[in-house]
Subunit: 424 residues, 2 copies
């Protein structure tokens, strides 16, 4: 039984949403640890002491995030000393880590950093590869005779995540016997949650009792997570995979990947594997497709670049789209998005091009072309195909949905081409 304590005034005035708790809970569940309670408290000594005592009395594992940064509102470390009845001692290894990190970046080490290398004497330090504050692992005997593990981590999400994944969860798994839990996530694009639920209702209702389904919708994507729990790892894997195969036969048109993959990773892998190149010609997505593609390490092997033609003058002068075409059909049209794709394909000498033009909103809609109207073109060595979509009434989500739809169209196009070639 795990309890999570998140320390931070910013969480109690609503300035920051507590995404740390949900991420920690999800990762713990994936590893077979059940979270019993999440408690959010202020950066106050008495409050921290009280929460530690309450959590320790109920749970065998208490994970704490927040309050160990270098600034003076961070009192967690001193309070932990009080709770565990010990003193801070200077830790040379922790200080060397910080010095190395700062030396690599060319920063000077400050007195604050030296103070951060002081750790409670009866804790085991947990390395922090991404920040200056070490994590702290304590064990405390409980009145019943067992031990409770307390782990203190930074509140900065990427530091906490690296520490959880790299150390805390592996160390906990060495100490506790957990049931086998096997997760498989099927990634779908191009269908909303309620339509998807209706299409797979029969399959969902027939799932065995020890395999549960969760819908995890995000803008433009619905993830379907199957969670199986059992005693025998091999049997469990086979049972879950059998359900995945049934789903693949039921909705092949929506599935683009599995588990933690992203569309931009999958597309990148296919491009790298086939030795082909990509460029983008973006209007409504404003560079977001290029950003997704280049967020993947190694993308310079297959991504040539992009023209973001946000204004019509750029479509005309930089991409050479005929002003008459824009005047006749409008910038959001099959004709313009096709011309944009072909122009970038020629200029950038790219095998594939994604082009987008749409009305992301909130302004710009008309009765004929309301907000959310979007054209996407995919140029390939075979030619160019444009498709039309009507997305929603949120600018952010329209940009995101357009980009994901475009990447999935590209994925299908390349895969279809490969299948053709394999058949020849």
């Amino acid at each position: 039984m795990v309890e999570i304590i998140n320390i931070g005034d910013e969480l109690l005035i609503g300035q920051v949403v507590n995404t740390n708790a949900s991420w920690m809970a999800e990762q713990l569940n994936l590893s077979g640890f059940r979270v019993n309670q999440v408690t959010v408290i202020s950066d106050s000594r008495d409050h921290i002491l009280n929460a530690l005592a309450e959590a320790g009395s109920r749970s065998s594992i208490v994970l704490i995030s927040g309050g160990i940064g270098p600034t003076k509102d961070d009192i967690t470390k001193h309070t932990l000393c009080d709770f565990f009845n010990c003193s801070l001692v200077f830790n040379q290894e922790a200080f060397d880590d910080v010095k190395d990190m700062f030396a690599r970046r060319g920063y000077p080490v400050t007195e604050l950093n030296r103070q951060q290398a002081e750790l409670p004497e009866n804790c085991t330090g947990i390395p922090n590869k991404l920040g200056t504050a070490r994590g702290m692992w304590f064990e405390k005997g409980s009145p019943g005779g067992g031990k409770t593990i307390f782990v203190s981590m930074p509140g900065v999400p990427f530091e906490m995540k690296a520490m959880m994944t790299g150390y805390v969860i592996p160390w906990l798994k060495q100490r506790f016997i957990t049931p086998f839990i096997f997760h498989r996530t099927i990634l779908t694009q191009g269908v909303g949650e309620s339509f998807l639920a209706a299409e797979i209702a029969g399959w969902e209702n027939a799932l065995p009792g020890h395999i549960r389904l969760a819908y995890l919708p995000q803008p433009g994507i619905v993830r379907l997570r199957l969670t199986g729990t059992g005693e025998d790892e091999d049997i469990l894997h086979r049972q879950v995979e059998r359900e995945v195969e049934k789903l693949e036969q039921l909705i092949p048109q929506y599935i683009f990947g599995y588990d933690g993959e992203t569309l931009e990773e999958i597309v990148g892998r296919i491009l790298a594997g086939t030795g082909t190149t990509l460029a983008t010609a973006e209007s409504c997505t404003g560079g977001y497709v290029a950003h997704l593609v280049t967020s993947i390490a190694g993308s310079s092997a297959y991504f040539k670049g992009s023209v973001v033609a946000y204004s019509n003058s750029i479509k005309e002068q930089v991409l050479g789209v005929d002003p008459d075409t824009i005047r006749q059909y409008g910038a959001v049209s099959r004709e313009v998005v096709t011309a944009m794709a072909l122009a970038v394909q020629r200029k950038f000498e790219a095998d594939y091009v994604i082009a987008t033009s749409g009305i992301a909103g909130p302004g710009g809609g008309t009765p004929e072309k309301p907000m959310g109207t979007t054209w996407i073109a995919i140029a390939s060595p075979d030619g160019v195909v444009a498709s039309h979509y009507l997305f929603g009434d949120s600018r952010d989500r329209n940009i995101r949905r357009t980009a994901l739809q475009a990447l999935n169209l590209l994925r299908k196009k390349i895969n279809a081409g490969n299948a053709d070639n394999a058949g020849n």
Copy 2:
């Protein structure tokens, strides 16, 4: 002192992020109620009873969300009866509300809805205009002689929000005299948390006791939040603003904005206000600067577009950068980023251009130009200025920090130009 209890298994497996808590905390703070703790628990009777008892022993107001829907896992209402030692009684008014709502939507009333109209006998019902479950307001004497107010609300966010805004907060304000609370957040860029803390330590230590400071770091940005508490609204505002002014004199070079603003919003407002235009020439940021700029509604008024020149061939063929310059200085150099900026300024006829070239990583670093090495150029009507940075060892954060640094350089450049013009 308020405590929030959120009930729901979905919050403890990480499937749902607890946005209810942050919204409730923000609204309460804006009304002068301080939230002391947020507790997330499962849909389990013992756990709910325990959390209610603990919260009631500490706080005068306990707000509960979740667990009062129509499905069988929703046991909150029965547990509340146990806690307050009373029975459920049928409430005709509550049932009429549900019947009216369903009649308007053309739905039949079910036996489940009839059960939902049963309320604990010693509570005051709170109308729910958007759903079938009423809220419940209880008052319970505490051992010290005072009273604790417990309010149970739905977990569905829009139902809870309407109930909080329409009833719960107004009723609480009638019952409690609340201090004024005033928040001001100062946004900084270009400095890490520990360096910033060292620079403002004197100011921070001299803050009056009723004004507190919190550091809220994000990749590339550190937000400084001042929270003042006092009896007189006007005096409190002036006191907090005086501290903000002192800070503005101390670190003007880092401050780019206030409260909930983003750099892309601020830059957009300045461009729109001065009637000038922007384009970008991006290598290492891969379209991310363009994406940030175009994430703002109305950006088509000032953003012309971008060339993402990810490969050297695009820098040469599309932007016309001299291949000899790239060969001599490398793509990540003052010379190349300057040439990129000028080429796009000319091609796009833009007043301002942001150009980026860097080694985002993880590959591509050398001893002379390690990962994180970045050049940013800002072209303006006055010419072009390039600056050099050494960011860190995370690809995502290098992209983000480069983009934020570039937007802030642009903001300073435009503002400096305006100041010059005003002086002429």
